[in-house]
Subunit: 252 residues, 2 copies
DNA sequence: TCATAAACAAGCACAATTGCGCAGGTGTAA
DNA sequence: TTACACCTGCGCAATTGTGCTTGTTTATGA
């Protein structure tokens, strides 16, 4: 049994039983209690449960009602960090566009601080989170549902963006390089992001440093089209210089 | 065996087994674990699976990870019963409209039986369920997100329905009466349902008997506009006779 | 309050897993 | 043929997961 499976199983047990004990789990999975403790710590770090003396209990807050797939807790720190920097660009009363990525949707809980915000998104998950965490006027584009990440794509999604004027579009990417610009693996995503960029006055790219230097098939835009780039860690010197030369805000 | 074939085979195994270990695959295909690891990385890059320490797991087995808020509406007997009757009206290759209600979304798992189905919905939850349970071409209307039930409403949602032609619209209601027809509490919902009815060749009303005789503020349509009414239990005689007179299918 | 047992964190050792570079093999196109 | 890209297996160092021990903290009942 893979460690990942074991933890997934523990999560399931917690959802149904609401609480677990270290010893029970240890004998159930034939591993030491140390391992179980480490597992529980890891799950607790994701914010789903609360560690207690001798076990763990389910939290019954909003977050626990979200499906596991909604709570993407990989690189949480990096994403959260980026999200915190990103919201500094948001102003009360603004109209902003959020794409489907988990990095961008990490911004959602932080948006509650702003009054009169209007958000447009093409992501089912993002829409759900906006409804759950933040009480914000939310518009969802229509479109064809993309199975992989539950984003709405296609002509319909793009068309919708042609009809609106937003202040800032917050987008992420799979790859960012000096020569090839912002790139995506999927053509459908690329199309939608282009539409987002077009309809927003400014485009802000949220991008952890692992994406830097990567080039994928579909070019979304040149680096010059960006208003700001937000990363979790410092970027290589050549990128720094390029951004400065092109007058692009670099935040990290 | 070609590398491509091997990877295709690994994908198949992952679909059925939900998880694999590097060692198992290595001995199964008589290649080194390095190769398997590279294979898994490649597949993981496509986004289908997630690499874990010692193997990989399938993503998107969402059904077991549904949020609690989705589940609680799930399998009430009445809704399930109605849903089973409703899908008897569906044909392979059809284009159908589903509204946001939990009664209608109970149909979703049953839709997998049909090939080439296209579904249009204005419900975030319904879209999510369609993605999780059924592998169906799904379109979601755009619109303003209604907090209460996460449906997309407003001009945008209605407009979208004007652009499509569907075979059947499955809708629910808050009230059904002989004099006042199909009624809703919310004006926004009423508008969208009207648009749905207009764009579908036939309209089927899913309606448990507790709704019968109720009248709410906003009239969606007359009873005459309905093609069929599906209920969980027998309806009062006067309704039965009325449906018969008006040539409306009554199923229960 | 204090004693006791259970649970804990932290550190260590060991094994499994992994990334990465290298070398050899295979197929393809010029 | 040659050149080149690609796949593959192997070795090595680094990382990760696991179980165990030690000393400390916590819960509980006398």
């Amino acid at each position: 049994m893979l460690a990942y499976e074991r933890r997934a199983e523990i999560k399931k047990i917690l959802e149904s039983e609401k609480s677990v004990s270290v010893d029970d789990l240890a004998s159930k999975f034939f591993v030491s209690s140390s391992t179980i403790r480490r597992d529980l710590d890891k799950i607790a770090y994701e914010g789903l449960i609360k560690r207690t003396y001798g076990g763990a209990v389910m939290l019954n807050n909003l977050a626990s009602e979200l499906p596991i797939t909604f709570r993407e807790h990989e690189n949480t720190d990096a994403k959260h960090h980026i999200a915190q920097l990103a919201v500094t660009l948001v102003k009360a009363g603004a109209t902003i566009i959020l794409d489907t990525s988990s990095t961008v949707s990490a911004m959602v809980p932080l948006l509650n601080a702003f009054d009169g915000l209007t958000v447009i998104t093409n992501g089912i998950k993002t829409a759900y989170l906006l409804n759950a965490y933040a009480k914000i006027t939310t518009y969802c584009t229509g479109g064809k549902l993309r199975e992989h990440n539950m984003s709405l794509v296609g002509i319909m999604a793009c068309q919708r963006f042609e009809e609106v004027n937003a202040d800032i579009a917050f987008i992420s990417c799979r790859g960012l390089s000096l020569e090839k610009g912002v790139t995506e693996a999927s053509e459908e995503e690329m199309q939608v992001k282009r539409a987002m960029i077009k309809s927003a006055a400014k485009t802000v790219l949220l991008c952890d440093v692992t994406k830097i230097g990567l080039v994928l098939m579909n070019r979304v835009c040149n680096i010059e089209s960006l208003y700001a780039v937000i990363t979790d860690k410092p970027v290589p010197e050549e990128y720094k210089n390029y951004f400065m030369k092109k007058n692009i805000l670099l935040i990290n």
